[in-house]
């Protein structure tokens, strides 16, 4: 299975983690993160679902670039990114990332790095859809600040 991939189907974080940990059995540290579609929008209104639009070909490459960069930058032994696309129900996993390394620090950093770049560079367009209509979600100043931590 591709380590960096899109999924139009539901993500099972437990299964992904088990598969990843098995493949990285020699690592001393495995860190994972699961992002979940929030049930309420930024203004507090209940949502029906999240819509994740993507550009076939370009989106996959953006995910792969981020994962490969993490592997090179932190010297980790393995990494994975599984990202949902299409309609994502609220409370469903939207992204799963994991990093395996000899020691914990590199694994934590690599997972953090992949998420910061996914928030600002992965080629997706997110839209919250609820009873009051739809609203595009774009990176916030905080997302850009988080991404800039890795620029040096």
């Amino acid at each position: 299975m591709e380590p960096f991939r899109l999924s139009e189907q539901a993500i099972d974080p437990a299964a992904e983690l088990a598969r990843f940990a098995t493949a990285a059995a020699e690592a001393g540290a495995v860190v994972s993160f699961t992002g979940v579609a929030r049930a309420r929008g930024a203004a507090g209104a209940a949502l029906d679902y999240l819509e994740l639009d993507w550009y076939p070909g370009m989106t996959e490459r953006s995910i792969c670039d981020i994962g490969v960069d993490a592997l090179g930058r932190f010297g980790i032994v393995a990494a994975t990114i599984v990202h949902r696309c299409g309609i994502v129900p609220v409370r469903a996993p939207i992204v799963f990332v994991a990093a395996a390394a000899a020691h914990r620090r590199e694994a934590f950093q690599a997972a953090d790095y992949m998420m910061d770049r996914l928030k600002t560079e992965a080629v997706f367009w997110k839209r919250e859809v609820g009873p009051d209509g739809a609203r595009w979600i774009e990176p916030t100043d905080r997302d850009h600040d988080d991404r800039s931590r890795w620029s040096e």
Binding site: L118, F124, W125, K126, W136, E138
Partner: protein
């Protein structure tokens, strides 16, 4: 040539539009101007202003990037995953 739109831009322009360009080609910046003329409105902010990005054959492009007939062009608003 067919131009694809993603994100907030697709609300304004639809999923795609057909734009005529010279057989000798053009540049993304000039294409942006053609699209602005087609979809812009004096009563609303430009949909193709700062923050709007472009890609040629699925590779990020700047206004100086050449465009030839037959290439796949996309314009889109700010991206955000995670």
């Amino acid at each position: 040539m067919t131009v694809l739109f993603f994100g907030r831009l697709s609300d304004r322009c639809g999923r795609s539009a057909v734009v005529a360009i010279p057989a000798s080609g053009t540049r993304i910046g000039e294409l942006r101007g053609l699209l602005e003329a087609a979809f812009g409105s004096p009563d609303a902010p430009s949909p193709f202003g700062a923050g709007t990005r472009a890609a040629v054959d699925k590779v990020a492009a700047t206004d100086d990037t050449p465009v030839l007939p037959g290439q796949e062009i996309a314009f889109f608003s700010a991206v955000s995953g995670g």
